[in-house]
Symmetry: D2
Subunit: 387 residues, 4 copies
């Protein structure tokens, strides 16, 4: 693991997700730019001190020299966004597989460069767009793929949070400070931080591709340097229309990612805060509520639900589902096998697509909300499943 | 009553709303452009056949000639939109008060003309934006006025329906046919029909004024002549931002008008399909659920809730609340008194504001979704309460 | 109408329910034991003063003498429980049909006597167990009758309210005072007042007959003379088991009548406070949410839903549905026709069954919670529909 | 770990719960009565084969001989109920701490014997009544302890499941078969399996002690040997009244454990299937919804919530919270320290109390549902926190 010292939030989430299924053992890390902090973190995690490194370059080099059966199989990159690409590149080039927190990179340029390296090295690259790990999100995708909603017409995806309602970034709250600093977060604030999850979720469920968008950015908290609220209208290539918004000043909201998809025959709705219900509505049939662990589900991969129906799963289990798939892929690679057909995790392509999306949104917003076409999706149309 | 023959939907809603509180007696009507249909309707309603008229001109003239204690006090206009203004004008000029279904008029021109007549005649004019009649909507307004949310930052209002998902208008369904016919409905389809309710609801609750908007209209059902889906981004004069959408092809939705208002201190949410709950969320306090009939409410007008807490009220009661207030105002006028200060119903000004909104939206959508400023709100800033 | 002066709650509910569909006109009344109060009430209701009577005897006699086309068709009895039977008897014997608020009578004795009179006179007798009037309750009944749940195994019905949590009866609150006074309310407090609604609702939906029960009564508020909380276990004749409770000291609850029915194939749940949803759960199928106004419903009587799907109906509409059916039956009688087969309202037999239930419960509770058999259901097995 | 071969459900839950926080490493086990199965399980878990034992006696003996820094610190007992006590006793006597799945023992006799051994050995004994691990359950307890509901009056606790609606036990489903076999499960079926969770949950939240109860057991599925549905009325020592039911033939239910507590000032409600909401209702204040991860919570132990507000936790996290506390206590013992004051997990006393409860319920049900006093709570009144 690179990044994720004990006081960071996302590092611990990754560690819980890794541990849950007992298939991953954390054995080495460079947890902080402060070597002292890194050392303390390693100690807290009961690691062999020789494998707690002062920086990620040293780690990549040292691990690469270890015998194959000892050295790490993959690295988890949970640093601030700014160096995601650099760390990932270093480890890919040293021959390791990579699990990387989102967003993929600081900007589109960097993302495209990283994409090339992933393709060149042929390593497994997993981006932790963790919301795709919820069983009911997978069910939503399965139902749409099987045509239960007919042709898709409209998408509404919302991601309101309220934790940046006050100027806590100016008051030194660390999580808030880097997210609102263009040097560290990139050109977008809340749209980059959470709007990309919304974009990814829609793509994962529907497969729809954004053609153009109109974005309205607002910075409500005085002195903040990046937008804390973003509202978008979207036109999809396939003819569907979309409304997408993300906000971190929606006072009173916690993490209310919600998606609704409308087709010619029906619609579905999923809410991250009540993740164990998928609501389906039809033209003339009762509404249906689908819940994990039941025999009637069509996303047949039982491996994503660890407990029987009625035993609620949550955020960590969904996150662990991303790891579960990454590990399947990595295991296959290690054993020289082809990746399983049904391997299901967000890839480098998802990351690049997000950067195209962000770039267009920033461009639209800067122009006062004019309709802006996504530059090029190039070869991103490749299927979601990693290959 | 003008319009509202027995097979029309909205006429019967008006009649139930009138009857509920026992303060209005329907005594005369011109219920249909077919005099035979009008006669049958009058019969079904147990009316005196002499006061069932073949057309509204005759009715206005005849009623005006009756002795004061016999003639109608006001007329309810529930015709197709196309002649709202004409009927209302006729009765206003004949000296009657008017309750008129929305939208106010066919276009902005007509609306402004009607506004002048209302002001000249000094008659009470009530527009049945019935969703303002729900007790929890009134509570939402009261809470915001008392500053519980702080300064308003964002508004999200959604009005999805699904009943036009199939081309039932082309197949002769009457309600669908006129709503999708530009000759009868005006320049907007679903935005005119239900989007105006959304706009009115936000204005009622918040008092915010739209400065400019960006509208995306889509006609999903082939052959339909007006948009059946409309998504808008909004900038309010006061600095708040808005997302508003209405749709009649959101398959599986019934009448899911929902509004969320975010301020610096908290937010609130109200859903028309669960009208007896107002959810309030705060920066650091438990969420609050407010319900009608309780002592803790701040919209003190008990008259809008007829039964104790826990006895659910619904659409008809909310509609009746608009009539309740119209009747209070009309009674005051009849007795030569000033209108009560707290008289609370949508007025001619609400209708005109809606037409400005619609005109700008149509203009924006026609221009491919460019930001469009509302022409002029002129003297529409007058307080919502009728005076 | 007998009873229901302007300051009484239930009288106004009956009047709203009568008015809603425009088929009933209130023309006469004896609204209070105080003739002055009765007069004022009549005035407030715009009645002809000659038909506002000082007492119900006078009213029955006077109305009976009027010409058939002038006199009342039926009477609504909305007095305190104590005289329900006396008033109903008087009017039945004077030849009028009767709509009577629940409970039927002060005790079983009185109830059985009234039952005989109803049968002798052949008049229509409707008991306003209004919760049976909700469309989704009717749907629940239809689904069970069509076997969708299989054989019934278990019933859970709860009716908690909280308004008697404090000793407001001792402090002179009128509604509370008579309900907790054994001279006026009868031998049971909260079980009589609201537990009978719960019993009736289960019987209406399922047709199950109680064989024996075990009741635990508690009076939580000091000084109160009747139980304010009652918990029962029930054994139904058909083999199903039941849990039934009612409470008026469940602090924070409003009017939370809820019923769940479990069968061999599935179950259903309905909550009075969210009356527009019927939840059905199955052994291996998604949960279904059924809502009024949709084409998929099996309780086909569209007359019980006055507005399209998504326009919420509530308490008053449900109450009006009882009147709607009473009026259908009365109209049939007036025109010398047989009652319609599908006439659907609570009858004298429902009232008598409730009194058997109450008597057994009081008996069980007095004996410290011993299992007690219902005395005899005699000929109460007659089908629910009135004949 | 004893029990929990790879095909057992609860063993894996325990393993996930152990792993989540990275404080427990599974190093040894006797996973099955089949030594081959045990071996395979150990292999699947990447264990050192030398520490995968053929039976639990061998394991206890062998581990006890290992050097202190190598041997296990505690054992998790996840066998069928029948041998819980035997396994626990063996390890306690060999000097190990114990985490044991519920129920504590096969019958009261065995439970009391085990209790003596726990007290004699002074080892930490944790019973995995896992539902007490949910943060909102802990919040409910904190709120009640701080008097927010006033004096408690009524408790309603429901635990319906539907998975035994069909005779799957007779058809060889293993999980179903042992639970309905009196030789393996004990004298009660569904009440023992899940009703004890309900009893424990109420006691944990409220501290109330059952004085007497009246139980109605039903076996709905033909041929089944233990009750699959149990309804109870309860009288608490403190004067409160209770309704408790558990069922495994409530077709369509998953794991719908729900508890409602009513006091003089308000009430609260918690549902296991929506574990991240605690609803509080008051006499005259809006309803409050409390959610994990927020600053306003009064159960201050942040350690039970691993992710920020809005990131839903679930069943596994709650289970892990029991382990978290067990580990805190075990660590304290290992370091020769006193147990932390706020150590919060179910103890041997909870297990014994449950057995008194079960015994009384079986006795009441056998006697046709007569009121039955709990034999003696003896010294079980000791505070819940382990000492």
């Amino acid at each position: 693991m690179v990044g994720g010292s004990l006081d960071a939030f996302i590092g611990n989430v990754h560690r819980m997700a890794m541990r849950l299924d007992g298939q991953v053992e954390l054995v080495a890390g460079a947890f902080s730019s402060s070597s002292e902090k890194s050392r303390l973190t390693g100690e807290g995690l009961f690691l062999d001190p020789r494998r707690v490194y002062a920086d990620y370059h040293t780690m990549a080099a040292a691990e690469a020299k270890l015998p194959a059966e000892e050295r790490i199989d993959f690295v988890s990159v949970v640093t601030p966004n700014r160096i995601h690409a650099a760390v990932a590149t270093t480890f890919l080039e040293a021959g390791f597989h990579v699990v990387c927190d989102k967003p993929l990179a600081f900007d589109l340029q960097e993302a495209l460069a990283l994409q090339r390296i992933v393709h060149q090295t042929g390593r497994v690259f997993t981006l932790t767009h963790n919301y795709t790990g919820y069983p009911m999100v997978k069910e939503a995708r399965a139902r749409i793929r099987q045509g239960e909603l007919g042709d898709l017409r409209k998408v509404v995806v919302e991601y309101p949070q309220g934790w940046l309602s006050l100027p806590i970034d100016a008051q030194g709250q660390k999580q808030a400070a880097w997210r609102t600093d263009p040097q560290q977060a990139g050109a977008a604030g809340c749209l980059g931080d959470i709007g990309t999850h919304a974009e990814n979720l829609v793509h994962y469920i529907t497969g729809l591709q954004i053609e153009e968008l109109c974005a309205e950015f607002t910075t409500f908290v005085q002195g903040r340097r990046l937008e804390d609220d973003a509202n978008l209208l979207i036109r999809y290539r396939e003819g569907a229309k979309g409304v997408l918004y993300s906000s971190q000043v929606s006072a009173g909201e916690e993490n209310a990612l919600t998606v609704r998809i409308y087709g010619t025959k029906g619609s579905l709705e999923w809410k991250q805060e009540e993740p164990n219900e998928l609501v389906m509505k039809f033209l003339d049939a009762p509404r249906a509520i689908l819940r994990p662990g039941n025999g009637y589900l069509k996303a047949s991969e039982g491996r994503f639900t660890r407990v029987p129906a009625g035993h609620p799963g949550g955020f960590v289990e969904a996150f662990a589902n991303v790891y579960l798939e990454a590990v399947r892929a990595i295991n296959a690679k290690i054993h020289g096998e082809a990746l399983p057909d049904d391997c299901d995790f967000p890839t480098i392509d998802d990351g690049v697509r997000s950067m195209f999306f962000l770039e267009a949104a920033v461009c639209s917003a800067s122009a006062g909300g004019s309709w802006t076409r996504l530059k090029s999706l190039g070869d991103l149309d490749s299927p979601h499943y990693h290959g």
